[in-house]
Symmetry: D2
Subunit: 243 residues, 4 copies
Amino acid sequence: MKPLRVTIWNEYLGDHSKHSPAGKLYPGGMHEHLKRALAAPDLEIRTAWLGKDINHGLSKKVLEETDVLLWWGHGAHGMVRGKVVDRIVKRVHEGMGFIPLHSSHMAKPFRALMGTTCTLRWNENKDKCVLWNVNPNHPITQGVPLHFRLEKEEMYGERFDIPKPDELIFVTWFEGGNVFRGSCTFTRGAGKIFYFHPGHETFPTYKDENVLKVIGNAIRWAAPGEKRDFQPNQKVKPLVEKA
Amino acid sequence: MKPLRVTIWNEYLGDHSKHSPAGKLYPGGMHEHLKRALAAPDLEIRTAWLGKDINHGLSKKVLEETDVLLWWGHGAHGMVRGKVVDRIVKRVHEGMGFIPLHSSHMAKPFRALMGTTCTLRWNENKDKCVLWNVNPNHPITQGVPLHFRLEKEEMYGERFDIPKPDELIFVTWFEGGNVFRGSCTFTRGAGKIFYFHPGHETFPTYKDENVLKVIGNAIRWAAPGEKRDFQPNQKVKPLVEKA
Amino acid sequence: MKPLRVTIWNEYLGDHSKHSPAGKLYPGGMHEHLKRALAAPDLEIRTAWLGKDINHGLSKKVLEETDVLLWWGHGAHGMVRGKVVDRIVKRVHEGMGFIPLHSSHMAKPFRALMGTTCTLRWNENKDKCVLWNVNPNHPITQGVPLHFRLEKEEMYGERFDIPKPDELIFVTWFEGGNVFRGSCTFTRGAGKIFYFHPGHETFPTYKDENVLKVIGNAIRWAAPGEKRDFQPNQKVKPLVEKA
Amino acid sequence: MKPLRVTIWNEYLGDHSKHSPAGKLYPGGMHEHLKRALAAPDLEIRTAWLGKDINHGLSKKVLEETDVLLWWGHGAHGMVRGKVVDRIVKRVHEGMGFIPLHSSHMAKPFRALMGTTCTLRWNENKDKCVLWNVNPNHPITQGVPLHFRLEKEEMYGERFDIPKPDELIFVTWFEGGNVFRGSCTFTRGAGKIFYFHPGHETFPTYKDENVLKVIGNAIRWAAPGEKRDFQPNQKVKPLVEKA
């Protein structure tokens, strides 16, 4: 069986300097950390980042060779070029899996795929949070307990302005009184999407084994199916003769 | 009770000339026909069209005074200005109802709200079609039989590249062997959307009493609720003191 | 317009004695309290309870004259007769609205309509809770803020073993670390169902104006639509001649 | 990897005699035919039928050793013992996959899991039908074209009185003017359910390669996940200390 081709994209700004809080936690950047932490025989992982090249490391060729794209962006959503966004959206329609992480709820490709503002409530009070599994038989939750806890995470809360998800996977509780539908799936065209909220860059979230298990499961779940072509509108002949 | 402010937008090209097939069926355009056919004490209906003015009749003010927007476009989707599209999308997010009809499955605001290609299969073989009510207790289907028939309609068929609808209302059967999820609802932000496929301009579809009943019901259903504000991301204080 | 015929059913055990904590809070029982609190010109409300008569006050006639049934049960689910349960289920299929409250998540008619165990996690630690509106444009949430708080409520938490709801309305946060999808809708046959978790009998929950607003909205939302008949299986002739 | 333990249950009445139309098509019964047709190294298939023993071949032990249960019943739904039905429902809640075929829309365990009447419209006019894939990236539709045709099948049509499915997989067109949401998924407890309408016993439907592919895919999709326990209601301690 051919390995799944995964591209981990990271803005790579806050974690760029090794003297920054995020840089200390994730030397070489979160993308390199995730690449190591998710390494497995069935995955072929590469990385890309905003400043890699004119395409942010996501040329047409790279995207065509990507089965599942992970995305971490925060402060520089506005710097991602429209052409690259369009290419990502097209690839999702064709079947590429897409996993926006944490603050990527505001990333251009996610918003274009959702059709909503994707805004939410937030604060950085280092809330404890508990993720509650509401979909225990879903491929994304296998090997993950019915609830797990992160000691510090950025609070993201309702009302989260997303379309009704296809599936709700975890609902998150935050210490300060908030809840969040921040682990949920969508389908757009032939592509599967999983948004997953944990991952503030100044906390060791991507070292948590449950968080990594969820992301790993989601990568396999989001693998493209058989190639299907819906584009463009197709003029077709009747299948059945009329009476 | 204040009447609901409805704007019926029509491309008004194929039905513009009174010598065209559509123009003969709908003198003055489909928008004027629908305005007359849907007239009711609880509705305050105005019309707009592509060539009305630089905003296609949809200035910021008109849209702010619109509770529900009906949309009929076909050949000139590309001519609708991006600025007007953005304004419509924003108003839907704020709560304006949106009812794209027939070939408006490819209209720019609908596609922007869906995040998919919205393509489908089609032919113009004048198929008989039957609309089957799969949601009999929905406000949109009250007063409409469990199935009704149109003698001639443009065939629109699966696979229709839309996100999973919030609700499926009718599923349509076409003579030539096709089916279509062409009557379905979505929510985007605070706005309700109902896509409804019947309405090829060369057939008397908008004179059918069941079609009109469905559109009339959908207008009332899509009325904005209480004003809510999700924009922008909101930094908030904890609601509850931490332990 | 004819008023909506509402029946409020209460087990009426814990609140029966005026010396019990619930009886002190709700003299005459929660059903009588709710009847008074929900009174409105468009509603015609009656009450019934477990010990009223052999049918628990829900004869065939009463149920046929009921448009929307509210249900509060807790300790005596097992005492509700199967015949009455079957009658309720049948009436929901025909279009009667059904609103099980609080501990009625284990009520026989609710479980029969869900097809799941409807079990959950709970404790009686008098948790503060916050209800977060995730469906701001839904008829059930009009006039209710985007979040509201109850100072003391029984904790009900995930994983709640229900089928995927048609709509999630509020998600509830509990002080002790739990979340709950305890405000959600289902359709069964032509009948609309709204489960709503607040209402432990020893807390003044049904005196909270937001809780009452939600229940009042839900009653109107759950009103039966046009009468439809799906029973029994129907042998039908082809609608369209074959080729 | 341990093979998936599949039990194919068949009423085995209409196909019992080798002189009956069904018996000629499926010598030894549809269950034995399906067992042969679905045979694969990753499946361990056994069969059971109504008259096999007092438990219809579905003892507690057999069900506990079953990962996925296929069910074909038609004329004898009423003869299936309540005790066996309860056991099946319980096993689905625990995670056993369940695949009711064709006329099993009226089977007791399916109806108990749905909470609706499951009635529909039907005729035996030997309609041609076309199954349209509306979920092209779903595991159940891999290797199956976007539409496929059966030359003769019993017509089953809307309005099908089921709860809103989790996922719609195929929508079926019938020659006589009907449509049917007869390929759809549900979750109940930890168990996955796929209802699939083709399979009238007097047509060679279960020899069609697309039908067999769908059933084979569905078996793998319905495999139980990790064991989870939701029963009974669980009194739990707070996870987080209160303020």
